[in-house]
Amino acid sequence: MKAKLSQYGEHSVLLEEFEGFPFVWVESLEKHFPTAKVKVGLESLVLTFSDHSDHISLVEALLPVVENTAVIRNSKLVEIPTEYSGEDLELVAKTLGLSVAQVIAEHSQTLWTVKLIGFAPGFPYLVPSAGTTVLSSIGRLAIPRTKVPAGSIGIAAGMSCVYPSEMPGGWHLIGQTTIRLFDASNSSKPTLLAIGDQVKFVELSK
């Protein structure tokens, strides 16, 4: 692995400018740095150690042997039944010069990959598993909503998401699911999705 390294607080190293999705490096990083916690970003990784040794030199020395596992063990395909009735669906179609049906087709025919779970408990950042989506020119809302209902499906910046619970949010809302993504009472498996999983949105017949 080749990456740009930066000191990040007294215990962490930030890795940037490497090839591939960040999560494909996690397994090998965990193997080579057994004392570190590996955290994933959209285009970055963070290694957090508990001691105060010279982490940058340590990471630099071992990085060449860190391998891209490419495939995530135990990753699964999750189908999310979706009602395409989001508040911003028509706005999105109009902005893209497409029909609502074309937007739905694009979103539901894309195979998505969970690139990151962040922002809030169980909140998945989904990117197309291959290539890009014509939806990618849709950005975030200029003024975020103060309340987005749980189960809302959004798009922004070439990504899609599902809101696991009610929270503020700035993604364009195109659909809704009744599937529960986060369950705090299940401590062994609180989230439906894990980083590296594949997601397919399946349109519910009206």
Partner: protein
Amino acid sequence: MTITIVTSGITVIEDIGRYEYAHLGVPVSGAFDKLSYALACNLINETNTPVFEILRGPFQLMTDAAILLSVVGDARVSIDGAVSSVNSGFVLESNKSLSVIPRLGAPVYLAIKGLLAPAVLGSASHDTLSNLGPEPLKNGESFETQELDRNDPAIGSFISTLPKSVSTELRYIPGPHSLDVAGSWRVESIARSGVRLSSPQPLQNTASALASFPVMPGAIQVPPSGLPVILGPDCGVTGGYPVAGVVIDADLHKLARLSNGTSISLIPLTKEQAEQAASALAKAIANAITRPSDLGSW
């Protein structure tokens, strides 16, 4: 063994936090002032136990059986109206009421030996941002505790040397992004999710949003406004604003002790200096408490 909250004030249950679920987007949370928290736990001879974090008083509880407890922080404490002491581990006898009124804005920690609080994802901490863990306390709510051991060596412990802490000086490791936040800032607002700073001279040339990357309590985020936000224990696990530095572990507790409108200094430090500060604080915590058994040979 039941304690009843007579007056809750603004009080949440906290422990050391949730460290095992960051990869699922779950914030760390946990006690805001981890120094006072550690001392409150040590006074009753516990580690990582759930405690009451009293953010605003008046707070009052009643107990139906004798309990061992400690109060740490700047507060007026009384038992059935008679003034009592902070910074010690003592027995509250049955059918007595304890009142705690924090003097400043800083949280005060009330630790009770054997307090039972429901854990969510491995921690009893209330997370204000994600709304995980036990709800904030309500008047009339009750909790079960363990039976008092009259021979508990922690009874009568007290803080003999409070670890030195200059709360207006926050030391940090610069980076990963190149933004110079060193110097004087005004505290605009304080919350468990973060502390907002202001200045007549905001930082210039701040970058726009970045691809979300892992952040942590103590990270000094710089939004496009150029006015930094120092993330607190309830911060999200990822963020999209540049991070100018991270407050060192030894100073994280100070975030909870700041007051609105006061001036603070951000002081850049090397990693070696941070390590020295961390071991100095650990030593100070270890030496802070005197137990009655320590005095026996006098």
